[in-house]
């Protein structure tokens, strides 16, 4: 079964689905939704089979496929997945069907074509899978850039308030980052002997000065994508304006491309430069954790608030990556997965609240728990997961990042811990202002607020809650897949774990 071309099929399948959905008649929106959902479930099934086939202790890169594309430039369609990519692919496959289900009525509100909305979601899935599955730098770049187009139209055509501004800002920021990367990609191609193959490029010796410039080119692109402070200003706008489902994918998956890119490209290809820049990257991560958390506390718009919490979380992931220990690295990758689940859930739940109230402002809520107790409960759970309460999955990843960092860099770990306190502040205060306290009289007059979670919505949130709890108590299946890949990455940059605390810690924490 391992000979089956999983990655290319997974990449192409959503695209085919998108074409089918796009050409369904506009007058039959229900059919389009069902086909899109069915198709994304098909992708999920295939992904599960792939996950089972993956040998956790086997080769670093598995499912490798390669077909020639532009021989003149040494470009190939090369796909391969390591443990990190596998986890992200799984996250995509899980999130997309849930997002489709959650967005069931979103497109109708916009007066625009419903089939096109779901087709765009499937196109987005195709490019997201492609970007994580690519093992050819050129191919990666192609997916990295093309990914912008469906997202641009999802925000611009189906978004809420200020959608045009947000869509353009998102596109321009990402494009600017992408063009920096393009220059670095071309530079890498020239110094690497006219090849784009990741494995060949990781063997190339580059002079120190060139290496630093190339690192910067890639890093800026990924830092904008992730986003790290100070390249983050597009995310609150885009996250605030995007329809809730698209926002969940934007923050849950799209932004992980940035951190994934750093792990896959910046560290192994430019190890010396990565070590040289690490203090700066750690500083950016720390500033992001504190600064974004403070801004989140002050937000009155639910979706913007969630966006800012994500920027703080990306700070944690950045710290985990640049601490250069296996625990911190594993924690960072696990964080990418858990953040996708927790924030995805948070965005979807917030979306459900906003759809009922017709407003995203926290001040328009108040005591909503009395009207919609189940929904309020789910929001509370999503909030707790987001602030990394023990027992939920994000706790393990945050804890791994902090202890992994503490063994090598105590001040950074201590400052980062402050972020946990602030997280409690913004989450609990948000939950309190929306669902607790006395009932806002205006709220009870809104028709939608009298309807608690529907069956469809319960189906959307249940798998996410289950996964968050499950991975909170038993993350071993995931860490077993991630660990070898992170260890290999740490070897690439020539970093060894400090002797006394290495080894069993991951297992202990993951007990």
């Amino acid at each position: 079964m391992s000979d089956f071309p999983f990655l290319s099929v997974l990449t192409v399948a959503p695209l085919v689905g998108a074409l089918v959905v796009a050409f369904l008649p506009r007058s039959r929106p229900e059919l389009a939704k069902q086909v899109a959902l069915g198709w994304s479930l098909l992708v999920l099934v295939l992904s599960v089979v792939m996950w089972v086939t993956f040998q956790a202790g086997g080769d670093r890169f598995q499912f490798r496929e390669s077909y020639p594309w532009i021989p003149n430039w040494g470009v190939n369609f090369t796909f391969a997945a390591d443990g990190i990519a596998l986890v992200m692919l799984m996250l995509i496959a899980v999130l997309v069907p849930l997002v489709i289900l959650a967005s069931w009525h979103d497109a109708e509100a916009s007066k625009r074509s419903v089939p096109v909305y779901f087709a765009l979601l499937l196109v987005l899935e195709c490019t997201m899978i492609g970007v994580f599955a690519a093992a050819d730098v050129f191919l990666f770049y192609v997916f990295f850039e093309v990914m912008l187009v469906p997202m641009y139209f999802l925000i611009g055509s189906y978004g809420g308030h200020q959608r045009q501004y947000a869509a353009v800002k998102f596109f321009l920021y990402s494009l600017v980052g992408g063009l920096f990367m393009l220059a670095a990609v071309i530079g890498l191609w020239v110094v690497g002997g006219k090849t784009f193959d990741w494995q060949a490029l990781s063997q190339v010796d580059i002079t120190t000065g060139t290496e630093r410039w190339l690192f910067l080119g890639f890093f800026i692109a990924f830092a904008i994508k992730a986003p790290f402070f100070p390249f983050h200003t597009w995310l609150p706008d885009a996250g605030g304006a995007a329809p809730a489902g698209a926002a969940a994918l934007l923050v849950g998956v799209l932004d992980k491309v940035g951190t994934f890119g750093i792990l896959r490209y910046c560290l192994p290809l430019f190890p010396d430069a990565a070590r040289w820049f690490a203090p700066w990257a750690l500083a950016l991560g720390l500033i992001g954790i504190i600064y974004a958390a403070l801004l989140a506390v002050g937000q009155n718009d639910l979706k913007r608030l969630v966006s800012y919490t994500s920027i703080a979380h990306f700070g944690f992931i950045g710290v985990g990556i640049f601490a250069f220990t296996t625990q911190a690295g594993t924690g960072a990758v696990l964080y990418m997965l858990n953040h996708g689940l927790a924030t995805g859930l948070l965005f979807l739940v917030v979306g459900m609240l906003i759809a009922r109230r017709g407003s995203a402002l926290i001040s328009d809520f108040g005591g909503a728990g009395k009207l919609v107790p189940v929904l309020a409960g789910v929001l509370f759970f999503a909030g707790l997961a987001s602030l990394a309460l023990p027992g939920t999955a994000p706790f393990i990843s945050e804890f791994l990042v902090l202890i992994g960092t503490f063994t090598v860099n105590k001040p950074v770990a201590i400052i980062a811990t402050l972020g946990i306190i602030l997280a409690a502040a913004y989450v609990l205060w948000m939950v309190q202002r929306t669902t607790q306290g006395t009932l806002n009289p205006a709220l009870s007059e809104v028709e939608g607020m009298r309807r608690d979670l529907t069956l469809r919505e319960k189906v959307v949130v249940a798998p996410l809650i289950a996964l968050i709890v499950l991975l909170g108590f038993y993350p071993k299946p995931v860490t077993d897949v991630i660990n070898p890949a992170v260890q290999a990455t740490m070897q690439d940059i020539g970093s060894t774990d400090p002797a006394p605390t290495s080894g069993g810690t991951v297992q202990e924490a993951a007990k």
Partner: protein, 517 residues
């Protein structure tokens, strides 16, 4: 008294040029003898047939590598590749020029001599059939371009320059509507073009002087002699630099590079849109074909002298094109500034000191030609009662009114912005890669930075079309005739194919990237 020695002429190798010029002469006769009502069909068929015949000859002689008529013409890889490119793009332009169903009577004025804005003028704008002189003029221009990219000495190059420029000046003046704008554009183009030609000619004279006195050679302006003179001439290098500078001015003017670009927006806006598309696609190919030949053959050994200067010109061109494109409110002017910026990217390819630079530039020319033709084809379709609606505010909400054409135009704009899976991305890679490989990192960085700026105006048009609500004055998209549809389809499909599977054309360009000397 020595006997006159006739040069040997390889007629077969020259056939494409001879066919085009012959067809142009025939076209003049058609004007004189064929009844008016048949002329349009006869002229259009004649021009298209000639282009096809010439293209066939180019393909049949694709392996020729020779210099003929006494060293005046070089038939080699780049010449044949670029001639093929010019002919394909010219065929598409001819389809746009020949369209008569979108605008009644075609895009051209019936009688150019009628005073603009007079009652007579309004009458002819209403429905009289456009002048058919445009076909012989276009055919002459194509013939001149074919010589221009194959010229092997500076004088032949100058003559070719005039042969293709003069018909273009005239064509610019022949718009059916907004005739004052069109005539102003033509006059501006003619005046500035005449200056540029004068510079070129003066440059030729200086270079001729520089070639005098090489041991064992007589003075001359063929590229082999110039090339030898660069290293061996006893004359002051100042003569060479001044000559090179003046030649460059003449060529860069045609290529629309800054600071010789000022004519471009006015002419692109004023000229009839099919003529604009012809200039944007074919003139660009011709101008850069000549630039490649001059700098890679004649002045190849003076590379270290001209590269910094031309590099500054390239950076300036990219900057001016990108920054001023941001402020434009007219779609034709926006495309004009985008064409200027693209001239800058092409110059990056020209300055790459390797064969990949040559093939990359040629690839870029073809890819850009297809996209820009498709873009202008859409511009001809967006119109109201007064002709084309080119002001950007009028394009608001076009995506709702006609999603298909708005989608097509969006795709082309994404190609211009260099998004992968379009030819815009592969062609940028094709010129930036060799330039970086050749040590011109600063040009590549400037190219990348200006691409960021340039993305904004393109994106603004996309926002206008899709994300704005249609207003009262949003024009409709006219149903294109068969000719425009064909040109549009070819352009869009080529933009996609060259973005997804560029390998065949790249192979072709790589195989053709060697000049004969």
């Amino acid at each position: 008294m020595s006997e006159l020695q006739l040069p040997s002429i390889d007629y077969a190798a020259l056939a494409p040029t001879l066919i085009m010029l012959g067809a142009a002469l025939l076209g003049v006769l058609v004007e004189a003898f064929v009844p008016r009502r048949h002329r349009h069909l006869v002229q259009l068929s004649l021009a298209l047939l000639a282009v096809l015949a010439a293209l066939t000859m180019v393909v049949l002689h694709a392996d020729d590598r020779l210099i003929t008529i006494g060293g005046a013409i070089a038939v080699d890889g780049p010449a044949l590749f670029l001639q093929g490119a010019i002919l394909v793009l010219a065929a598409m332009s001819l389809l746009l020029i020949g369209e008569r169903s979108v605008e009644r009577g075609g895009y051209f004025v019936a009688q150019a001599a009628v005073t603009a804005e007079s009652a007579e003028d309004r009458r002819q704008a209403e429905g009289q059939n456009g002048a058919t002189e445009v076909y012989p003029l276009t055919t002459f221009a194509i013939g001149g371009m074919l010589i221009f990219v194959a010229a092997n000495d500076l004088l032949t190059m100058f003559i070719a320059l005039e042969v293709f420029s003069l018909p273009l000046y005239l064509l610019c003046a022949l718009a059916r509507r907004r005739r004052l704008l069109s005539q102003e554009a033509a006059l501006k183009y003619f005046m500035l073009g005449a200056y540029a030609s004068a510079f070129f000619l003066f440059g030729v004279a200086l270079v001729y002087g520089f070639t005098a006195g090489i041991p064992g050679r007589s003075a001359g302006v063929d590229f082999a002699t110039v090339n030898a003179a660069v290293t061996e001439s006893p004359a002051s290098p100042l003569l060479l630099f001044a000559g090179m500078a003046m030649l460059s001015i003449g060529l860069l003017f045609k290529a629309a590079a800054a600071p010789f670009h000022v004519w471009t927006p006015d002419v692109y806006q004023g000229a009839p849109t099919p003529v604009t598309s012809f200039m944007a696609a074919c003139t660009k190919v011709a101008a850069f074909g000549a630039l490649l030949r001059v700098f890679h053959v004649a002045f190849a050994d003076a590379r270290w002298d001209f590269t910094p200067v031309l590099g500054v010109v390239a950076v300036l061109t990219m900057l001016v094109g990108a920054v001023l494109a941001v402020t434009q409110t007219d779609i034709k002017r926006l495309l004009a500034y985008s064409s200027i910026a693209n001239a800058g990217y092409l110059l990056v390819g020209v300055l790459a000191p390797n064969a990949e630079g040559i093939s990359g530039t040629m690839f870029y020319l073809v890819a850009y030609g297809f996209s820009v033709l498709a873009a202008f084809a859409v511009v001809t379709l967006v119109r109201d009662a007064d002709g084309e609606a080119t002001h950007l505010s009028r394009w608001a909400g076009l995506g709702r009114r006609s999603p298909f054409y708005a989608g097509v135009f969006t795709f082309i704009l994404l190609a211009f912005a260099g998004i992968p899976l379009t030819s815009g991305f592969t062609s940028k890679f094709a010129v930036f890669g060799p330039a970086l490989d050749g040590g011109q990192a600063w040009l590549v960085i400037a190219g990348v930075l200006t691409s960021m700026v340039l993305a904004f105006p393109y994106l603004r048009v996309v926002v206008m079309m899709w994300l704005s609500e249609p207003g009262e004055s949003t024009p409709t998209v006219a149903v294109p005739g068969a000719l425009t549809s064909a040109a549009l389809a070819i352009g869009v499909i080529a933009t996609l194919v060259l973005g997804v599977a560029p390998a065949p054309l790249l192979d072709l360009a790589t195989g053709a990237a060697e000049f004969v000397r």
